[in-house]
């Protein structure tokens, strides 16, 4: 349960909101590199943290993320011409470079310098891995670039997709740190999904539906350990890192790639779910990549040419009650990503957390909310840099391990939870 004002504090991310300011401390995914595939390719409308922007790649391969609307008459630059190192407004030909600086106003005299006085808001846009990242905060507080492992491995070892999720970012994130739903909602996928099935760990998951939980502090956020019974005197641990504000990794299964998510607010009623898979020591197989493209694992099959899932709220997520009855899916919705999305969107655009009945197995969610709130207030009141900004905090992994009962998960898994290049993941 949260008071209304705290729910509002944590869910509102527009300009000048406290949580919005927190998000603006971080480098966040703005779009996928595939959305701007070539120099002078069509610009892309981007809405992030309730700000309408336009992304483009100029003739020299430089990326820009600027105010969507021309300074002159407020026309959308999405209609503009991306040519000769700038984006030219289709209305009267005003032209902008990747920094938002106006480089040309055709109606002014040839030697006019008036254009030098016109500049649109702009944010940096940097490719790391297959993601274009931006920092929308104060440039004087701009941190070093992010170092998440999925973006640092070779291109053939990693895959990322994104999907539009029609709800507030926080309820989507909370799904990512809620390990207890896996044995229920995703139980069908553990048996059949090509990116999940076959792992020994799945048996522990399915046999023990009442896991024990441990929530522990991490430099960048939290480690959430879910413990289930394994063989005699041993526990099966699944350890999920949460790096503030909205990055989580799913513990691996067998030799399947590791996956995880970013949830990035579009506005207060919508977010982007970025879902990645990578393997720390080998290339993804063609079959794995195809499965990801087809929407298996944490990915979704999207409507071609869009990032909207084929199964969405307009078609009741293609609910299949017969498959549910046959036990192929627990909820009747197919695919792990859409199983999550369907339920999280069903809560409404922003769930009213005053009406929750949380239980102690929600400790990860309770602690994450508390940490977010404290970080928001510390930033607002004292300018404190929040956890998760430092790239050192990004170098973590999820892990799945079997440990003797008496061993502490954090103590025994320190190396497993560290992202070290060339070292295999700890998995069962």
């Amino acid at each position: 349960m949260l008071k209304a004002e705290i729910n509002e504090l944590l869910t509102q991310t527009g300009p000048r909101t406290p949580m919005g300011e927190l998000f603006r401390e971080y480098w966040i995914p703005a779009l996928l590199a595939e959305e701007l595939p070539d120099d002078d390719c069509p610009p892309v409308r981007v809405k992030l943290l309730s700000e309408r922007l336009i992304a483009f790649r100029d003739s020299q391969g430089r990326y820009g993320l600027i105010d969507e609307f021309c300074a002159h008459r407020g026309v959308s630059l999405w209609f503009g011409r991306n040519e000769e190192s700038g984006l030219r407004c289709a209305y009267h030909g005003w032209k902008y470079d990747v920094t938002g600086a106006c480089t040309e106003i055709p109606s002014e005299p040839d030697d006019s310098t008036f254009h030098c006085k016109v500049k649109l808001t702009s944010y940096p846009l940097v490719q790391i891995g297959d993601v274009l990242w931006t920092h929308m905060g104060d440039p004087t507080r701009r941190p070093p670039l992010p170092e998440f492992e999925f973006t640092m491995v070779a291109a053939e070892q990693t895959f990322i997709s994104k999907r539009w999720q029609e709800c507030n970012w926080l309820q989507a994130l909370e799904g990512g740190i809620d390990s207890s739903h896996v044995s229920w909602l995703h139980s069908g996928g553990l048996k059949s999904d090509p990116l999940f099935k076959g792992a020994k760990g799945n048996e522990y998951n399915l046999k023990d539906r009442k896991p024990f939980f441990e929530v522990a502090e991490a430099d960048g956020g939290l480690f959430i350990g879910a413990r289930r019974n394994a063989e005699d005197d041993h526990y099966y641990w699944r350890i999920t890192p949460w790096i503030m504000p909205s990055f989580t990794m799913v513990p691996p299964r067998g030799d399947h790639p590791i996956h995880g998510h970013f949830w990035i607010p579009i506005d207060d009623h919508n977010c982007w779910t970025y879902s990645f898979d990578y393997h720390p020591i080998r290339a993804l197989t063609p079959a794995e990549v195809q499965a990801m493209r087809d929407g298996h694992g944490v990915h979704s099959a999207n409507i071609p040419g869009t990032y909207r899932p084929v199964a969405n709220k307009d078609n009741d997520y293609l609910m299949d009650r017969e498959a549910q009855r046959r036990g192929e899916t627990f909820s009747g919705v197919k695919g792990i990503a859409i199983q999550d999305a369907s339920l999280q969107e069903s809560m409404g655009p922003i769930v009213d957390r005053r009406k929750e009945r949380l239980v102690t197995t929600d400790a990860g969610i309770i602690k994450a909310r508390h940490k977010l709130r404290k970080a928001v207030l510390a930033l607002r009141d004292h300018g404190t840099v929040p956890p998760g900004v430092d790239p050192a905090h990004h170098r973590v992994r999820s892990a799945a391990v079997v440990l003797p009962c008496e061993r502490a998960f954090l103590d025994s898994s320190r190396d497993a939870l560290r992202a070290i290049a060339g070292v295999p993941q700890a998995t069962v």
Binding site: M1, F212, V215, E217, G348, P349, A363, K367, H370, C405
Partner: protein, 164 residues
Amino acid sequence: MQPILLNSCTRAATAEEARFRIDAPIPGRDGTRVIALDAAAATVVRRLAKRRHTATRLLAVAEDGVSADGSLSLREMDGRVSNLGSELVDADLIVMVASADADPVAAHLIADGCSSRGIMTTGVILEHGPPDGPALEALRPHARVLMVTHDDSDVAEVLSALRA
């Protein structure tokens, strides 16, 4: 016929429709007992008692509270004496709060009592030293949920989130 009408989720999940959700009052939890397992944890719980006025009972293991017969004496924050058996009668959740000096025997007795009555157990470990200290070792076998935190205010946060 389709099992679900087309577009029903589209309508049902809007902010407008959220206004029609049943708004019945939600009662607080009255079966929660918070038990501090050591002196440092008792200080945190005592501070909590001054600020919180809910049905949650706030207790600490009494000095020399573990008896040879396996019973456990507790003290309320105002000094009144209680015992584990009577506190568990109407309980549905026990939150054990511990710092570095948690008594593993007390944790064991509480967990045993809870286990036989189907009472949920949770531990909050106020860890200001190195992680994975003796308190964690003492509570791990006995708490279905453990939170290890550097932040004493998490105790209040957990209770508030649970409506306790």
